[in-house]
């Protein structure tokens, strides 16, 4: 269970970074480097998507799954497929924007949007690296990327369809367990973290069902998981 959760959280991170990157395409900070960074982030996201899909599908097709775990898995499934969908949407957008704003042609101007800085830090965050290596990718990367992007987008589309066909998760039976409003991670959560970090070390155990007072079993468990992940340690996925 822990491994699927890690994959999903990392996936969310990468998808969020990909969205940040794709909002720069065609704007004043667009460059060959940005397209290269987009490519790297996309590849990482696809890698995580494949792993996550294999794990989740295997888990959910197992008929002997206890009810409590099945509910958790279905929740994760809905979240995972939703993030795949918005990743697919972003890929489509980047593909069409890349066609409208080709960097190789000399005539097209980029829209002066006011964005100046590079996205190296965001990409580094996406790839779980402390820092991105700064060598400039070749201009031919851009043409390659455009061609690949269409193929990869259809591949992700196919993946989503396959997932829906293999496992039937009824959306109306899934109830969210997390908090209604998103709170950023604050230092004050220390006590509950200490309580749950003990559970986090034990990967095989299913999530503990916490009493009603706490915001939600999944929510606090996520908070506990984020602490080790945020230390930019590449979690080995089996």
């Amino acid at each position: 269970y822990c491994d699927i959760l890690c994959v999903w959280l990392l996936g969310e991170l990468v998808v969020a970074c990909y969205r940040q990157l794709s909002s720069c395409v065609g704007g004043s900070s667009d460059s060959v480097r940005l397209r290269g960074e987009l490519r790297q982030t996309r590849e990482r996201a696809q890698q995580l998507a494949l792993t996550g899909r294999q794990l989740l599908t295997a888990r959910l097709r197992d008929k002997a799954l206890p009810r409590e775990e099945r509910l958790e898995m279905e929740l994760l499934w809905v979240a995972f497929s939703s993030s795949l969908e918005i990743f697919h949407a972003d890929m489509c957008k980047v593909c069409s924007l890349g066609q409208n704003f080709p960097l190789s042609s000399r005539t097209s101007a980029l829209v002066q949007t006011g964005v100046q800085g590079g996205m190296a830090e965001v990409t580094a965050r996406a790839l779980s690296l402390p820092e991105l290596n700064r060598d400039e990718p070749a201009a031919s990367v851009e043409r390659l990327e455009q061609g690949d992007l269409e193929v990869e987008t259809t591949r992700v589309d196919q993946m989503i369809e396959d997932m829906e066909q293999k496992v039937n998760v009824l959306r109306w039976t899934v109830e969210a367990r997390g908090p209604r409003y998103a709170e950023p991670l604050s230092a004050g959560d220390g006590s509950s973290l200490a309580l749950l970090s003990a559970d986090a070390e034990d990967p095989g155990r299913p999530a503990p069902y916490l009493p009603v007072k706490s915001p939600g079993a999944l929510g606090l468990f996520l908070v506990a998981i984020l602490v080790p992940v945020e230390l930019a340690v590449y979690v080995p996925i089996k």
Binding site: S23, S82, I86, C95, V111, Q112, V174, Y181
Partner: protein
């Protein structure tokens, strides 16, 4: 390439929006370092952000490039702002081009409006959750309402939305301060266009979704053309002068009664969130409004379709002792719209009550129609009494309706009709109204009230000439 959402064959396509590509070409032209716009810097408290443009510069560029006069150029600029290609930096909710030194900036192509992709609710939910984090729980009222609704509809995805919002917020933190400001402005501008604040309209509002995909290849060949032409031949034709004349007459009669075209009294509930208008215009209200009574004079059908009007007309007919016509018409309507099981009994009942020779509430139909009706009643169906009903309807319309308009019953109704005062709400009161919105009366309850009315009417028993005559006969007999 589609962003997959639904896969059936219903109305899911957005209509053509050919103007978008044309405006995009102009926006790209504006970027040209030689012939394009001159950029300024926007000075904020902690940072400066480049690439801001003054409204008057945009206006001057449009006048120059498109050879328009000042008014048209302003309208054109406002269109560009309304679609979201340029967004204002101050007063971000009003998407107009101000021809002065107020600053604007170009929207990033990622947030440009596109014909074939809609602004998804999932993304809106993530945006609101992010905004909630940034503003520490203080969202505007309409944003709060949207958030609550989305939480109800997309509950199954809510963990994903919350997590994605947090991750996007954290990814944003990795960037430069000025870039963060720019991205916030961009996103906010995007959602002002696609989820307009209350009492504003979005330029991307296109009405309903369409059945045909405008991006699909057009079907060519001879077969569709043949089908199209054969259907065109089969269509009934009316001279356009006749149909247009009817349209003009209808529009000029009803234009003051349409809440879209003229302000309704006291106020339009959809605009001011005050439901007095609906309460005053319930199907069965004690005192109808003046506008409603005026509508009764337009047309006999208007009078009959309005429950209050029909009741008033029934009262008039009661005084004139000719209620059987209206009762027959109502019974025929009941037969037409009622359930199939009760049809046979209803038809027989109507015949015994209204059409048989010597019936208690005999209606005066001409011989030919009576023949057709009686023949049809051997095998009754829903529309067997249609001819008779039309005959009686025309009788009432030509004769009784005119007398009703001149009668004291109607004049009394006109006098009693009330004309409510128009509301004048301040902005604060409008916000208050929005907070205290109540749902109207449930349609099921309205339907039950209708049924009760009908039952009461049936129970009270008709007053008809035969009974009166028989009573009078008995009295004269007694006297003798």
């Amino acid at each position: 390439m589609t962003i997959r959402t639904i896969h059936d064959h219903g109305q899911h396509y957005r209509p053509r929006m050919a103007c978008l590509k044309k405006v995009e070409a102009l926006v790209v032209e504006m970027q040209d370092p030689k012939s394009g716009l001159k950029f300024e810097e926007q000075k904020l408290v902690t940072t400066t952000v480049p690439h801001a443009i003054a409204g008057q510069d945009i206006h001057a560029w449009i006048v120059n490039r498109l050879k328009l006069d000042a008014e048209e150029a302003k309208a054109f600029g406002t269109m560009m702002v309304a679609y979201g290609y340029i967004y204002p930096l101050q007063d971000h909710k009003r998407l107009i081009l101000k021809v002065d030194a107020s600053l604007y900036r170009f929207q990033t192509p990622y947030f440009w409006p596109v014909q074939h992709w809609r602004a998804e609710d999932t993304d809106y939910a993530i945006y609101l959750a992010k905004r909630n984090i940034r503003k520490k729980g203080v969202l505007e009222l309409y944003e709060q309402e949207h958030y609550n609704n989305l939480h109800k509809w997309m509950n199954h995805k809510w963990d994903f939305i919350v997590m994605q919002a947090k991750e996007q917020y954290r990814a944003g933190k990795e960037r430069k301060k000025s870039d963060r400001v720019v991205l916030d402005c961009q996103e906010r501008a995007y959602w002002v266009v696609h989820r307009p604040p209350p009492r504003t309209a979005s330029a991307m509002d296109y009405g309903l979704d369409r059945l045909i995909d405008p991006n699909a290849e057009e079907v060519t060949g001879e077969r569709p053309v043949i089908i199209f032409n054969s259907q065109a031949i089969m269509r009934p034709k009316v001279k356009s002068t006749v149909s247009l004349g009817a349209l003009v007459k209808f529009s000029s009669t009803f234009k003051n009664h349409d809440p879209f075209l003229a302000p309704c009294l006291p106020s339009n509930p959809w605009l001011t969130d005050d439901i007095t208008y609906w309460e005053l215009n319930l199907p069965r209200v004690e005192v109808p409004t003046k506008m409603r009574v005026e509508r009764w004079t337009f047309n006999f059908m208007e009078l009959l379709n309005d429950p209050c009007g029909r009741a008033d007309f029934r009262l008039f007919l009661k005084k004139e002792f000719s209620g059987e016509n209206l009762a027959f018409w109502e019974a025929c309507e009941d037969l037409k719209w009622g359930s199939a099981e009760a049809m046979k009994e209803k038809a027989e009942h109507i015949y015994k009550m209204f059409l048989a020779p010597g019936a208690p509430r005999w209606v005066n139909i001409d011989g030919k129609t009576m023949d057709i009706t009686v023949k049809g009643l051997v095998h009754p169906h829903r529309y067997v009494l249609d001819a008779a009903q039309t005959h009686i309807f025309m009788l009432m319309k030509k004769d009784t309706f005119g007398r009703y308009m001149k009668s004291p019953v109607f004049k009394d109704a006109q006098k009693k009709a009330l004309s409510p005062q128009p509301h004048t709400f301040t902005d604060a009161q409008l916000e208050q109204n929005a907070r205290n919105r109540k749902p109207g009366i449930h349609p099921i309850i309205l339907h039950q009230q209708e049924e009760e009315e009908k039952a009461k009417l049936a129970a009270s028993g008709p007053v008809d000439i035969k009974q009166i005559m028989s009573k009078l006969d008995r009295r004269t007999d007694l006297k003798k």
